[in-house]
C-alpha cells in the first residue's frame, strides 16, 4: 500500500474491488485510479498502437491512458476512464487492448515494428490491391489496434432525458464556479451549478491551501451548505456539460447510477438539455506535459495529478511505499507538487526545472537548467536520466510528475466556431471574444488560474451575467486566498532521437509530428488527420497544444499562427444509450392505434406498421394456414357480400369559412368550389412543381363547411401544407383548418350488401340509391341517436360507404356491424385486402403517387383544371412533364401461373434490358382471387395505346423475367356500374 496520511477519503468505509480478477481494497471517496495507485498498481493498460505498457496519467476526465472495462456480462462498459470512475464495493475492472495477460501482451511485438508504423503508415502501406482494404487490412488493423470490447449484448440499462431552464448556468464547481453560483444565487437568480465530480470543490479539493484561514475543503462545505439552502439554486454533481448549442442551450449528462453496483430501479444516466439565459464557464484548466524520450512509462504522470492523488486521496503514485518521486517542470507550479508531496510524507528526489534560474520553495534538490532525456522501467518507471548542462546522470525513482503549464479548458467556449486566442503571458489559449453568445468564461478556464484570481473572477463573471439580465448583484466578500507563484518559461519538448510521446492515447510521438511536417501535412487539421493526433476518445486534451507547439517550432511560425483545430461537441465521451434517450423495443417510438384496435386484437388480427399506425393487416380464421388464404377469402367476401374495414387512418381535415370553397379550389387541381352541399368529390393535389402530391375526397357538409380526406401517409404533411397556404400564401381568405383524423372513427362498408347492412344501423335516414346516391354525404344519427357522418364513396369499386362516428364509439360500432351483418356474410378486412380490391379496381395509392408521377400519367390529366389556378397547375403544363408518355395500365401474366412483382421494370418484348430501353415499371401487384391470377398496375410508355400487347416485366434482382399482357387498369367493373347501383 502507498497510502499517505490525511486526504478526503473515508477510512471508516473500506471498499472491495477487483482489477483483472485480483481482489483489492480502497475507501469511500476513492476513484478507481486512486485506489489502484494506493495498491501499488502502476501498470493499468496497453497503448493503442504499439501496445506499450501504460499507467495512470491524470486525475480527471482528460485521462488518455487509464482506460478500463468495467462490470461484466451485458453491463460490460469498455473505454472507461479509471480517473473519473468512483470506487464502489464490488466494482469489477479489467485492463484492455492486450492479447494474453496485461504484463505479457503478445501484441507488444508492435512496439518492435514501430519504425514501420509511423504516422500515415496505413495510408501508404495498404493501398493495393484495393479490394483487400475492406476484407483484409482494415479488419486486421482493427483487431490489432483497438480499445475495449463491447459485450455484443443488448444494453440492459435504462436511460432518461429531461429539460432544465435557468437564469445562470454555472459549469464547474471549483473556486470560480462556486463564487459565481454563490453570487448569482444570493442575488436571486435561478442558478444551476453542475460539476462532473461527485462532490463540489474542483481543484480546491486537490490542494493544501487555506481560504479565510480554514482548509479549502471546509470552505467548500460551507458554500455547498449555503447553496443548498437557497431554493433558487440547483446543484447537479456527476453531471458533465458536453456541448454548447444554439440559444444558450447546453447538453449535459448526469451519471445517475454509474457509481452504484446495481441501479436499483434508477436510470443509469440522464441526458439533460439545459436552456440558460447566461452561462458561466468555470471548467478549470488541464495541465500539459513536456514530451521527452520514453515519457510514457507507468509511473510518469502530470505533476498536478500527482498532487491531487497525494492531497485528496492520500496516495503516493509509486509501486512501493518509500520509492522516490521526481518532478520535471518548466514552471513554479511543478515545485508546488514537490512541496505538497513532502508535506504528506512522500520521498522526493528533487525538481528538474528547465530554467537555469529555477526557484526553490522548500527543502528539496533543484536540478536547474535540467531536462529528462531518457527513462527506464519495463512495467513501471525505475530510473530517469537527468541532463544538466551537457552531462547526464541516472537516478532511481518510482514516479515522475511532469508539469509543462496549464491549458484553460476553452472547449465549451470554442464550440459554435468560437476560436480561442493565444495569451503570450500565460503561454496558453484562452476563450476568444467571439465565443458563443451568453457564455462567460471565468477562473482558470479563462486564464485566471491562481486560487485568489479564480475566486474573484467567479464573482466578476456572475456580476457580468446578472448585469446582462438586468438583475442586481448582491455584494459578496471574496475569501482570502493565496496567489500562488505561477512563473513559467516556454518549453515544449526535450529534443532527442528516441521516441517522445505527445498523444498517449493514439500513440503519436514528436517524430510523427516531424514526419507530418516533412510530408507537408503542416496545417493543424492535416496534422491531426495524418497522425491521428487528438482523435482518440480523450480528444487530445493533454496533447493538442504540445503538438501544435512542436509543429510551430518546425515551421518557424508562432503558435497562434499555427492555430488550433476546430472544437466540436461532445467535450467528453457520451454513451449512445443516453443519446438514444431511453425507450427501446416496442416503445422506441410511439404507435397510433385505430379505434377498433381492441376488437381487432380480440379477433386475432395480424397487425402491420403503417408509419406510426398499427393497422389490422388481415383477420385469419381457424384452419387458414397462409395469409393468402385469408386475404383471398376477405376479398371475395367483399365483392360477393359485404366487408368492413377500419379506415380511420386516412387524414381528415375540417375546413370552414366563407372562403373555404375558394381556398380548396387553389389547393386541389380540380374544381372543388362548385361542389354541392351534401356531395363528395374525388380530388387531386399537386406539388408546387406540378407532379402529383396526394389524392382523396372532399365532402361538403354545409355552406361553408368541408371535410377533406387525405391518404394515410400524407395526412400530416397535407395538413401542414394547407396551413402554410392559409397562413402564408393567402392570409386574406376567411378559412379555418383543423385536423379531425383522430376524432372520428371511420369504417369502409363495402360490397353489394353494404346498403342492407347500413340500413340496419341508421336512424330514420333514406339510404336508398335515390335518397343517397353515389358520392353523397350526410350528417345523420345511427344506433339510436349517435351523431355520425356517412359518405357514399368507394375505394374497392363496389357499392360502398364510409361511416364515421365519434372515436370512442368506433369499437362498439365495429362489433355492432359484425353482429347485425352476420346473416349477410359480413367480413372484416384488413390492409392487404384493401390493397387487392383497389388494385383490381385500378385505383391509385402511394405506390402510384411517388412524387415523380403526374395526373396525366394516372390518366387524370383533365383533372388539372384550366379554368382556375391551383398549386402546381402551371408547372404541370411544362414541357418536360407534358412530354411524359407513360400511362397507368394493368398487367396480366401471359402464363397465368407467373407472379407479377411490384417494382419490376417493363421492356418491349425482344429488346435489350437496359436503362435506355426501359419502358416503365410495375407500381403495384397482387394476387387477384377474382381473376385467379396475379395482376399488376404500372406506368408504361404510351400505355394507353398498347392494350393487348405483350411486354416483359423484369426483376433482375431476383432473376425474374415474365411476359405480361397490357390490359385496362380496371380489372373489375370497368364501367363503374357497381358503385352507382
Amino acid at each position: 500500500m502507498t497510502r499517505l496520511n490525511g486526504g478526503l477519503i473515508d477510512r471508516n468505509a473500506p471498499l472491495s474491488f477487483t482489477f483483472n480478477g485480483k481482489r483489492l481494497s480502497g475507501f469511500k471517496g476513492d476513484t478507481l485510479a486512486s485506489a489502484l495507485l494506493a495498491n501499488g498498481v502502476q501498470l493499468v493498460g496497453r497503448s493503442f498502437k504499439y501496445h506499450r505498457p501504460r499507467g495512470i496519467f491524470s486525475a480527471g476526465s482528460e485521462e488518455p491512458n487509464a482506460m478500463v472495462e468495467l462490470r461484466s456480462g451485458a453491463h460490460q462498459e469498455p473505454n472507461t476512464r479509471a480517473t473519473v470512475t468512483e470506487l464502489f464495493d464490488g466494482l469489477e475492472a479489467r485492463s484492455q487492448n492486450h492479447v494474453g495477460s496485461l504484463e505479457r501482451d503478445l501484441m507488444a511485438v508492435n512496439d518492435l515494428m514501430s519504425p514501420f508504423l509511423s504516422a500515415g503508415f496505413y495510408y501508404k502501406t495498404f493501398m493495393w490491391p484495393r479490394a483487400f482494404w475492406e476484407k483484409l487490412y482494415e479488419p486486421a488493423i482493427r483487431r490489432a489496434a483497438g480499445l475495449g470490447e463491447l459485450s455484443m449484448l443488448p444494453d440492459p440499462d435504462d436511460y432518461d432525458r429531461g429539460f432544465l431552464h435557468c437564469d445562470v448556468l454555472v459549469i464547474g464547481a471549483g473556486a470560480a464556479g462556486l463564487m459565481a453560483a454563490l453570487t448569482a444565487g444570493r442575488s436571486g437568480a435561478r442558478v444551476i451549478l453542475l460539476d462532473e465530480d461527485c462532490r463540489l470543490g474542483g481543484r480546491l479539493l486537490a490542494e493544501r491551501q487555506t481560504l479565510d484561514g480554514t482548509p479549502a475543503s471546509d470552505w467548500v462545505q460551507s458554500v455547498e451548505a449555503e447553496l443548498k439552502s437557497l431554493p433558487n439554486v440547483q446543484i447537479m454533481t456527476r453531471t458533465i456539460a458536453f456541448g454548447t448549442y444554439d440559444h444558450g442551450v447546453f447538453g449535459a449528462v448526469e451519471q445517475v447510477s454509474d457509481h452504484l453496483l446495481a441501479p436499483n430501479g434508477k436510470v443509469r444516466q440522464t441526458l439533460w438539455r439545459i436552456t440558460s439565459k447566461r452561462a458561466v464557464l468555470a471548467a478549470g484548466a488541464t495541465e500539459r506535459h513536456i514530451p521527452f524520450a520514453n515519457n510514457d512509462r507507468p509511473g510518469i504522470m502530470m505533476a498536478g495529478a500527482m498532487r491531487a492523488y497525494a492531497n485528496r486521496w492520500a496516495v503516493a503514485p509509486v509501486k512501493r511505499a518509500g520509492d522516490g518521486i521526481a518532478i520535471f517542470t518548466n514552471n513554479d507550479d511543478g515545485h508546488r507538487t514537490a512541496v505538497d508531496l513532502m508535506a504528506q510524507g512522500a520521498k522526493v528526489l528533487g525538481v528538474i526545472d528547465v530554467r537555469d534560474d529555477a526557484p526553490c520553495f522548500g527543502e528539496y534538490r533543484v536540478f536547474g537548467g535540467g531536462t529528462i532525456t531518457d527513462t527506464r522501467g519495463r512495467h513501471g518507471l525505475t530510473a530517469i536520466e537527468v541532463t544538466q548542462h551537457g552531462s547526464s546522470t541516472w537516478h532511481k525513482v518510482g514516479a515522475l510528475g511532469v508539469s509543462g503549464g496549464w491549458n484553460p479548458n476553452v472547449h465549451l467556449a470554442s464550440h459554435h466556431r468560437g476560436r480561442p486566442e493565444w495569451d503570450e503571458n500565460l503561454l496558453a489559449f484562452v476563450p476568444g471574444a467571439n465565443g458563443p453568445v451568453g457564455l462567460i468564461p471565468a477562473g482558470a478556464a479563462c486564464g485566471q488560474g491562481s486560487t485568489a484570481a479564480a475566486l474573484a473572477d467567479g464573482v466578476r463573471a456572475a456580476k457580468d451575467a446578472l448585469s446582462q439580465l438586468d438583475m442586481t448583484a448582491t455584494e459578496i466578500a471574496v475569501p482570502t486566498a493565496e496567489n500562488e507563484a505561477q512563473a513559467q518559461t516556454a518549453f515544449w519538448h526535450v529534443p532527442g532521437a528516441k521516441r517522445a510521446w505527445v498523444d498517449f492515447q493514439n500513440d503519436v510521438t514528436v517524430k510523427d509530428v516531424k514526419l507530418a511536417h516533412q510530408e507537408n501535412m503542416k496545417p493543424v487539421e492535416h496534422l491531426k488527420r495524418w497522425t491521428t493526433l487528438g482523435m482518440a476518445t480523450d480528444q487530445g486534451k493533454t496533447s493538442n497544444i504540445s503538438a501544435l507547439a512542436v509543429m510551430a517550432e518546425l515551421t518557424g511560425k508562432s503558435i497562434p499562427e499555427t492555430g488550433t483545430t476546430i472544437f466540436r461537441p461532445p467535450y467528453t465521451g457520451v454513451s449512445m444509450g443516453v443519446l438514444g434517450g431511453g425507450d427501446t423495443g416496442k416503445h422506441f417510438r410511439p404507435h397510433r392505434l385505430t379505434p377498433s384496435n381492441t376488437w381487432a386484437t380480440e379477433q386475432g388480427a395480424v397487425f402491420v406498421e403503417v408509419g406510426q399506425w398499427m393497422r389490422a393487416q388481415y383477420f385469419p380464421k381457424a384452419g387458414e394456414t397462409h395469409w393468402r388464404q385469408t386475404v383471398d377469402r376477405e376479398a371475395l367476401a367483399v365483392r360477393s357480400a359485404v366487408g368492413v374495414c377500419d379506415v380511420t387512418t386516412l387524414g381528415k381535415i375540417d375546413v370552414q369559412g366563407a372562403d373555404a370553397g375558394e381556398f380548396l379550389n387553389r389547393i386541389y387541381s380540380n374544381m372543388m368550389g362548385t361542389l354541392a352541399v351534401g356531395k363528395t368529390r374525388y380530388g387531386l393535389m399537386l406539388r408546387e412543381e406540378g407532379t402529383l402530391y396526394d389524392d382523396g375526397t372532399c365532402a361538403r357538409l354545409g355552406e361553408s363547411h368541408y371535410v377533406v380526406t387525405t391518404t394515410t401517409a400524407n395526412a400530416a404533411v397535407v395538413y401542414r401544407k394547407m396551413e402554410f397556404a392559409r397562413q402564408c400564401l393567402w392570409p386574406d381568405l376567411d378559412v379555418n383548418l383543423i385536423s379531425t383524423t383522430d376524432a372520428w372513427a371511420q369504417f369502409a362498408v363495402a360490397g353489394p350488401k353494404s346498403r342492407e347492412l347500413l340500413s340496419r344501423v341508421v336512424d330514420d335516414f333514406d339510404i336508398s340509391n335515390e335518397g343517397f346516391p353515389f358520392m353523397g354525404c350526410a350528417e345523420l344519427t345511427i344506433c339510436k341517436g349517435l351523431r355520425a357522418r356517412l359518405f357514399r364513396i368507394s375505394f374497392s369499386g363496389e357499392l360502398a360507404y364510409e361511416l364515421a362516428v365519434p372515436a370512442r364509439y368506433g369499437n362498439a360500432l365495429m362489433e355492432r356491424l359484425m353482429e347485425l351483418g352476420e346473416d349477410l356474410g359480413v367480413t372484416p378486412y384488413g390492409t392487404e385486402t384493401l390493397g387487392v380490391l383497389r388494385i383490381e379496381k385500378g385505383h391509385a395509392t402511394g405506390n402510384e403517387l411517388t412524387g415523380q408521377t403526374t395526373a396525366a400519367m394516372l390518366g387524370l390529366g383533365r383533372m388539372v383544371s384550366k379554368k382556375k389556378d391551383s398549386i402546381g397547375a402551371v408547372l404541370s403544363r411544362r414541357e418536360g412533364l407534358e412530354a411524359d408518355r407513360r400511362r397507368l395500365v394493368g398487367f396480366k401474366p401471359v402464363n397465368a401461373a407467373s407472379e407479377v412483382v411490384a417494382g419490376a421494370h417493363l421492356f418491349t418484348k425482344g429488346s435489350a434490358q437496359t436503362t435506355e430501353t426501359d419502358q416503365g415499371w410495375v407500381t403495384s401487384a397482387c394476387y387477384s382471387p377474382h381473376l385467379g391470377c396475379y395482376i399488376g398496375l404500372g406506368y408504361l410508355e404510351d400505355g394507353d395505346t398498347r392494350k393487348g400487347e405483350t411486354v416483359i416485366a423484369s426483376n433482375p434482382l431476383q432473376g425474374q423475367s415474365i411476359e405480361v399482357e397490357v390490359v385496362s387498369a380496371h380489372f373489375v367493373d370497368p364501367e363503374g356500374e357497381r358503385l352507382r347501383d
Partner: protein, 185 residues
C-alpha cells in the same frame, strides 16, 4: 342516447389511474373539447361566461374552460360532457365562430401532486421542454412530448393536464407513467 357503449382511448371500459409517490395520474375520459376559431375582425365572444385567454394561457369555471391554441383560436372545454354533442352547444354560444368537434381527437391525463407542485415540476422537467418554474397556474402550451404533440395545462399549483392525440393514448400513458415511476425510484 345511443345504445353503443363507448370505450376509453386506452381501449378499456373505464378510465385508467395510477399513483407514483406523491403523483396521481388519471385519464379524464369525460373532457369534452371543441375548437373555436374566429374570423378576423369578429367580436370575441364569451362562451359559458369565459373570457377567452391570451396566448399561452387558459381559463376555467367550475363547468367549462378554454385554452389558447393559435391566433384567434381556442379549445373550449366542457367538464364531464364528453358524451354530449358539445360542439353544437359551443356553436350556440359563439355563433360567429367556426366550431369543430374535437372531443374524441384527444385523450386527457390529469396529474395531481400531493407535494403541492414540486413533483409536477420534476415530472415536467422529464417530459417537456417548458420552464416548469415559470409555468404557473393558468399557463397552457402546445409542445412536443416523446415525439408526440400535446397540450399541457397547469390547472393549479398541484394539478397538470396533458392532452395528447387519442390514437397515441397508449404511448402517452406509457411516457407519463414511466417518467412518474422513475421519479418515484
Amino acid at each position: 342516447m345511443t345504445d353503443l357503449s363507448p370505450i376509453t382511448a386506452l381501449g378499456a371500459a373505464g378510465p385508467w389511474a395510477k399513483s407514483y409517490g406523491p403523483l396521481s395520474l388519471s385519464e379524464n375520459t369525460m373532457l369534452a373539447l371543441t375548437s373555436l376559431s374566429l374570423p378576423a375582425q369578429t367580436v370575441v365572444p364569451s362562451p359559458f361566461g369565459l373570457t377567452l385567454p391570451e396566448a399561452g394561457q387558459s381559463t376555467a369555471t367550475e363547468t367549462h374552460g378554454a385554452f389558447w391554441s393559435g391566433p384567434n383560436q381556442w379549445m373550449i372545454e366542457g367538464y364531464g360532457l364528453a358524451e354530449t354533442d358539445f360542439a353544437a352547444v359551443v356553436k350556440a354560444e359563439a355563433d360567429a365562430g367556426y366550431v369543430t368537434e374535437q372531443t374524441d381527437g384527444w385523450c386527457a391525463f390529469d396529474i395531481e401532486d400531493a407535494s403541492n407542485g414540486d413533483a409536477i415540476q420534476k415530472l415536467m422537467q422529464k417530459l417537456v421542454n417548458i420552464d416548469a418554474h415559470q409555468f404557473s397556474p393558468g399557463s397552457a402550451a402546445r409542445t412536443g412530448l416523446e415525439h408526440m404533440s400535446v397540450f399541457v395545462i397547469r390547472r393549479s399549483q398541484s394539478k397538470l393536464t396533458v392532452i395528447g392525440m387519442r390514437t397515441l393514448a397508449g404511448a402517452l400513458m406509457h411516457a407519463l407513467a414511466t417518467a412518474a415511476q422513475r421519479l418515484e425510484a
